[in-house]
């Protein structure tokens, strides 16, 4: 039919004919069958998004942003959660790939898992969010992990704290490792003793680890937690152990969460631009899909900033936000 041409804005259609066609379309409330279109090799106008946990404060914000910019381009998004399990993740990728999707946005559960190699060398465009793939090269969007950690730790050092312990959950993640590295770097520069990071996984593990730590003679005067879940876990545990945050021990966390303002004392944290991360990653993927880039891999690193509240020892009104320089490192890698 000429219908196809009209719908797809083909140049060779008389205004007259086009008008008739459009009228008929309206009258019959005709909608093109998407599946048929895809079958002829058209784009599916859909992308996949796989995150570890949709209910996580950070990833839910990222997901919302991704959905928003996809919608603006007329794209629909498949959302899946891996529960930090590479097997589930791979299965979801497989399903999406064959549904099919035009591209996938991925927060890998394990950035060294073998299946990622196959994925990255496949034909479906991939953009990683937050955690880059370590064993292959793809487009990626992340944040300044190391610099954020240094921002946090150096702020604690300026307060005069000398026994700063680093606490980590999911310490196998590259992002967390980089934050730990940033912590170490700052401690060494300040010539401060740099104990190994404390790993907490479950609430019960956290409770025994922290109660031991605070019972020892190396009791810390400040804590740096490396992601939102470890920050929340530590705050919870400190309450249970009757250790008063901001008074008995200072705390700065990596990843700022909306409700940190509601806690007593309000929590100082490194702010990541979560929504922006989602927006930029989605836009990048869409551009890839449309073949707008020739360059092989684009690695985008977004700046972070320290949001100073009171858990670090500052008092209300002491300072505002120490906005980190808004430099965006955008490097092309071959």
């Amino acid at each position: 039919m000429t219908v196809s041409r009209t719908i797809n804005g083909h140049p060779y259609v008389t205004g007259e004919t086009a008008k008739k066609v459009r009228a008929a379309i309206r009258r019959l409330s005709y909608r093109p069958n998407h599946a048929a279109r895809v079958l002829t090799g058209q784009l599916s106008r859909s992308i996949g998004l796989i995150v570890p946990d949709i209910a996580d404060t950070f990833f839910s914000v990222v997901s919302h942003a991704v959905q928003e910019t996809a919608r603006e381009s007329g794209y629909l998004v498949w959302l899946a959660a891996s529960d930090e399990d590479p097997t589930i993740e791979a299965a979801q990728v497989e399903m999406m790939t064959h549904h099919p999707v035009d591209g996938i946005l991925l927060v890998p559960a394990d950035s060294r898992n073998g299946y990622l190699k196959t994925l990255a060398s496949g034909t479906t465009p991939i953009v990683t969010i937050d955690r880059p793939i370590e064993i292959a090269t793809t487009d990626s969007v992340g944040v300044e992990n190391r610099r954020g950690a240094r921002l946090a730790v150096e702020h604690l050092i300026q307060h005069g704290y000398k026994k700063i312990t680093c606490i980590a959950a999911n310490s196998h993640l590259l992002t967390v490792k980089e934050r730990i590295a940033g912590y170490k770097e700052s401690m060494r520069r300040a010539k401060l003793p740099c104990p190994k990071e404390l790993r907490v996984s479950s609430p019960s593990a956290a409770k025994s680890a922290l109660s031991e730590l605070f019972g020892s003679r190396n009791r810390p005067d400040a804590l740096f937690t490396t992601n939102n879940s470890s920050t929340i876990l530590v705050i919870e545990t400190l309450q249970q152990l009757d250790i008063e945050m901001g008074k008995d021990v200072a705390l700065v966390g990596f990843d700022d969460v909306a409700f940190f303002t509601l806690i007593t004392p309000p929590v100082t944290a490194v702010r990541q631009p979560a929504a922006q991360l989602g927006n930029i990653a989605a836009r990048l993927l869409l551009q890839r899909i449309n073949g707008e880039f020739k360059a092989s891999s684009i690695r985008t690193v977004l700046p972070v900033s320290l949001t100073i509240r009171e858990s670090c020892g500052c008092k209300k009104g002491d300072a505002g936000t120490s906005k980190a320089s808004a430099q965006i490192a955008l490097a092309l890698i071959d």
Copy 2:
């Protein structure tokens, strides 16, 4: 090909042939083209989920649960956010419908919007979550709004509070209206004065409304907030106005949020089974898709419970959770 038959487990295939086919499938790592399947009238094995805001603590938990039970059945889910805008919602529904999806899970932005009538009478199965459609009948899964509100308000009354104000955001929503009705019912039964609910929309509106309320001679001694966003907004505002929650004024909220334990004092709230809501709704939709129900509309109402912490005036250890009776009202409506 015989391939199709083998894959779809058709009875008439020799074990011999089937084995060969499967070997070939493995060797070529063949995957059936989903679009082609759909084109021949098969199910798409996908459902849509539209919520107002993916980043909301309540909806993100619901979304995670939906995704999980869909995955267990080999289904993929489209996730979209309406931003509480019926126009966006209708557009997303339209896209999903034609993609196509086998069914849609919906939290309507406006449960009286005209387009819902068309939707409900269409061929795509619909299950609403949390907010039933008011102008048409579909399957729905929700919670005991009125009873939850009474649980909250009666607890405050037992504490001896007499001037209890109800605070609402999004008061056009049926769920919120029912909670307000529950509040009124409890107040009337206790022969307490029952002021009109206070509506808060933005932080600034909340600030002026609350500062006026607490400056008046009808200053309340307790507050009942009708959803998580109004609870959070009120807590924030009270802090700004230097009104101490739990001391200057008691507070019980509808919808419990994980971080309420971290606030000082910890917040007492009506707990909704968010994850269960998502699981049950997804399962119901999948059953509908598979034609497992003949009955016209299934309305599921899940029980809520009061999680008692300290913002209501209780002290640590005063009481545990007053589990509401676990009765599930499951009614068939014609």
